[in-house]
């Protein structure tokens, strides 16, 4: 069951995967069983999803398994994509659900409860002026956030998603997303206190 494609060159599929409209076309081709289109979609989403999942688990094999699980669902359910949201929102929503389910099954520490940890001040990253150290400090502070806040923060700042998209991915009201992000920022400001002052 394959639909004729005007041009099946891999480069053209990769080009399609660079825009939201192109992704919709790829999903249409995937619905028709086009493996080249699926591969292009897979290669486009692999780095985005692995980066997203990296904040939930540090196990590369587990990350790959969740990514494969997600994109296998995309392959099988492509016909159910109705275009009411962006392809990226749809794919990330699947990935988020699969990750939560998988990590719960594996008893992975998906959520860090900073209030339960001792010596919060001792965990604060040391003041560093270079960008690499700053990135490490933010990384450490983000890891201390509850999963829901961390996910909302990550999707906003590192995946450039709107609050409506994030609400759809996390399956909760828009106001919940705004509140989660507000608390995430306050927590990060506390954890990074003194290190962000004077920075551009």
């Amino acid at each position: 069951m394959r639909t004729p494609c005007l041009d099946r060159q891999p480069d053209n599929f990769a080009t399609l995967a660079r825009t939201a409209e192109g992704e919709v076309r790829l999903i249409g081709l995937v619905t028709a069983g086009d493996r080249r289109a699926f591969e292009a979609l897979y290669r486009a989403y692999f780095p985005r999803l692995t980066r997203f999942l990296h904040r939930m688990t540090r196990n590369p094999m587990l990350i790959e398994e969740i990514v494969n699980d997600t994109l296998l669902a995309v392959w099988r359910k492509a016909a159910t994509f109705d275009g009411s949201s962006k392809v990226s929102t749809w794919v990330f929503a699947i990935a988020y659900r699969r990750a939560c389910k998988t990590l719960q099954g594996f008893d992975e520490p998906v959520e860090a409860h900073i209030d339960e940890r001792e010596g919060v001040d001792a965990d604060r990253p040391e003041w560093q002026f270079d960008q690499q150290r700053m990135a490490q400090a933010v990384e450490t502070a983000l890891a201390a956030l509850p999963l829901a806040q961390r996910t909302a923060f990550q999707l906003t700042f590192y995946h450039d998603m709107s609050y409506t998209e994030i609400a759809e991915i996390m399956d909760c009201p828009v106001n919940t997303i705004k509140t989660r992000l507000f608390h995430a920022r306050k927590r990060l400001a506390f954890l990074l206190e003194g290190q962000l002052e004077g920075r551009p």
Binding site: R35, F38, E39, Y42, R43, F46, P47, T50, R51, L53, H54, R55, R58, P60, M61, L62, I63, E64, E65, V67, N68, D69, L71, L72, W75, R76, G105, F106, Q131, M134, A135, A137, V138, E139, L142, F153, T156, F157, Y158, D160, M161, S162, Y163, E165, K178, T179, L181, F182, R185, L188, A189, L196, R199, P200
Partner: protein, 220 residues
Amino acid sequence: MTTFMQDHMDAQQLLPWLANGTLADPERTRVQAHLEACAECRAELSLLHTLRGAGEGGVPGCDVDGALARLMPQLDAPAVLPAPSATGNPATVPRTWRNRLAANDRHWLRTGVALQFCVIVALGILLAKSPAAPESRSGDYRVLAATPAARTGLVVSFTPDTPERELRRILHASGARVVGGPTATGVWLLETEAAPASVLTRLRAEPAVTLAESLGEGRP
């Protein structure tokens, strides 16, 4: 609450999406207008830009070609069964197990209902093939309401001095049972399902029996 404070609270919530460029009008225009008048929000926006620039995070050591090579053979697998774990991690096994045994799993339920239907049909066939008159076989259990076999009525009389114990022994040995009497003339009415001739023979052989006669075949 003043308009400024309300705008400030709204802006504080929306700043992250102004920072990532996804905030749309009219919210964007309203937040930008507030920023011109609010130093605190400008500082917050600056901080968010810093966080955004600093925290891309590490990239996990994942292999896109290897992962894709593992996935491609699964594309043709039937969607009913979950794809096997690429990592072989045993933790995925019980999860699949539980899902497949779940009462709301349509595939499992469908098979169960089909089996149940087959069992009901088989039991129905067995019931239809069962014997119509089980009492016709010797030794079968017969309930009180069951259709009785043909019975023969008999009359018997004993010598007047026959003790009650002897009377019971004779009747028991004969294979007949008392259904009436004694009459005014001392005759007992008996009934038997056995051959009347043999019952009469046994009765007449007893010295205490003065009369033993058949009344002919009675009710069935």
